[in-house]
């Protein structure tokens, strides 16, 4: 059967036949790097277009429809515009930090790509603490925002950065608790083991109500962590012009923009892996014929389908709900999500010990 693992294995063998082990590894790293960068570019183009179309349809508009067939090439045109635009550095800014912040945002997004299993046996780094790695690295992303806000030497930027810092630091907790509930059920931090544990059913179905609650908490928390509406206080247009990226233009702005979309993609990958079974096809109990048909769909398509479903869900949130105020935001986290998450984690732990899941 067609699979991505065969391709990677044959490339690996060919390289090892041709070169010494060290050089083969070097070329493989190079190829992985190019693959990740091109994935970034494609994601940027696809997700921006998707967001604009989804938002248009939800607001009974048409969306981009001029460039290319049905406006498909709109994001190419946008990218071209951003590429030729001047990347301005304000006079009073801290030049080094100002220019480094967007790069750091992209580096963090790239690091987060490493442990994600995109298809069966198709993973850059099978890390045995994958989940912990992801939550650790994603806590670095706040630094690039703080850096951008401080280095711009602009009060809107600084306020946006402060808000975003408070927001990300507090919502990381409930995202962590939601992730932990699946880790407790699986007994492993490795993303691969978590996927394999869902062979006979995804956690969202196997885990009854507590895992469903954890899933809802996870979606809310990651929406806040990626600074998207209704939690986009960091860049609240009506109050702070654009928050931490007020002073950015051209390609530096584009990098922040890209990092936001890639982060959305990554958290949706994690959500799909933890709760919706990663690349595992959908199976119904012992109904063999149905399960066989589902198995024929390649694992990469399963994974991407689930991920894009979650991305659509996050876009749906964005274009439905109004922005929260900062006190409402913190109330939601500290008075609702966190206590519910903690009690939910206890229930999940009891469930895991008692073996009450399927």
């Amino acid at each position: 059967m067609w699979s991505l693992a065969n391709i990677t294995n044959s490339i690996h063998e060919a390289l090892n036949n041709q070169f010494s082990a060290g050089w083969a590894l070097f070329f493989e790293m190079l190829m992985a790097g190019i693959a990740v960068i091109s994935l970034f570019a494609i994601l940027g183009l696809v997700l921006v277009l998707m967001e604009r179309k989804v938002s248009a349809w939800m607001q009974i508009r048409l969306g981009p429809n001029r460039v290319g067939p049905k406006g498909m090439l709109q994001s190419f045109a946008d990218t071209l515009k951003l590429l030729v635009k001047e990347g301005l550095t304000p006079g009073g800014a801290d030049k080094f930090l100002f220019n480094f912040a967007p790069v750091l945002a992209i580096i963090v997004a790239m690091l987060l790509m490493a442990p994600i299993a995109f298809a069966k046996d198709f993973q850059l780094w099978n890390l045995n603490i994958g989940v912990l790695y992801v939550s650790a690295i994603s806590s670095v992303s706040v630094i690039s925002i703080l850096m951008a806000g401080w280095a711009s030497n602009n009060k809107y930027s600084l306020m946006g950065a402060m808000r975003s810092g408070a927001q990300i630091v507090s919502y990381e907790l409930s995202a962590g608790l939601a992730i932990l509930s699946v880790v407790v059920l699986t007994g492993s931090l490795s993303l691969n083991d978590i996927i394999l544990s869902q062979q006979n059913g995804w956690w969202i179905f196997k885990g009854h109500l507590p895992v469903l609650i954890a899933f809802v908490l996870f979606m809310i928390a990651v929406t806040a962590e990626t600074n998207r509406a209704p939690f986009d206080l960091a860049e609240a247009e009506s109050e702070l012009t654009a928050g931490f990226h007020t002073e950015y233009s051209g390609m530096k702005f584009a990098l922040f923009f890209l990092a936001e979309y890639v982060n959305v993609f990554i958290v949706c990958c994690i959500g799909a892996t933890l709760f919706l079974g990663g690349w595992m096809p959908f199976h119904i109990g012992n109904w063999q014929q149905f399960n066989h048909i589902m198995d024929y769909i390649p694992s990469s398509i399963w994974f991407m389908g689930k991920t894009f479903f979650l991305i659509f869900l996050i876009m749906w949130f964005r274009w439905t709900f109004p922005r929260l105020r900062i006190d409402q935001l913190l109330t939601l986290e500290w008075k609702y999500l966190l206590p519910i998450g903690m009690i939910n984690l206890l229930v999940v732990a009891a469930m895991a010990i008692g073996g009450w899941h399927f």
Partner: protein, 171 residues
């Protein structure tokens, strides 16, 4: 030089270089950022040694926790773009002396110790083992320190609440 060594030297260079920059820069925010790079370099070294768990914990605690805390306190207390005042020469001398003494002490300790190259193959410590050790009550268990630290943190949290709480004026 093998690829492994190249990676080690790159990480060491990152760690040491940003550590030096962190203490020599006069922009306080840059100092915090360079400290962050030094800590990231350390985490990279842990990854290089295949201690992924410790590396991740290093990032969670130091980079995601402490550095963000430092940056926040800078935000709340300092003005943007201001350079720190030049340090006094006497203070610089004392600082240099202190760091030299520390370096000398560490180096003598390292050179006196005879390192035995381990013959064992590298084992990947699973998180399960770490967890059992952490909450174990046997010889190498850490249950008691773990609980003590929990109580310490709880006390700190209650202290924070007591400081931050605003009593309603009784009238």
């Amino acid at each position: 030089m093998t690829g492994n060594q190249i990676i080690f030297y790159l990480l060491a260079l990152l760690t040491l270089g940003s550590a030096v920059l962190a203490v020599s820069t006069r922009h306080i925010f840059r100092a915090a950022v360079f400290l962050l790079f030094a800590l990231m370099g350390m985490a990279g070294l842990f990854f290089w040694m295949n201690y992924a768990f410790i590396a991740a914990v290093q990032i969670v605690v130091y980079v995601g926790g402490i550095t963000v805390l430092i940056i926040f306190s800078i935000f709340l207390t300092q003005e943007t773009g201001e350079k720190l005042p030049q340090q006094l020469w006497s203070r610089r001398f004392i600082a240099a002396l202190a760091s030299f003494c520390a370096l000398a002490f560490t180096l003598t300790q390292i050179f006196q110790h005879t390192f035995n190259a381990s013959k064992q193959t590298a084992i990947e410590v699973s998180v399960q083992q770490i967890g059992l050790q952490m909450l174990g009550t046997n010889q190498y268990g850490y249950a008691l320190p773990f609980e003590l630290i929990s109580i310490l943190l709880l006390a700190a949290m209650i202290g924070c609440i007591v400081i931050a709480i605003r009593l309603k004026p009784t009238s």
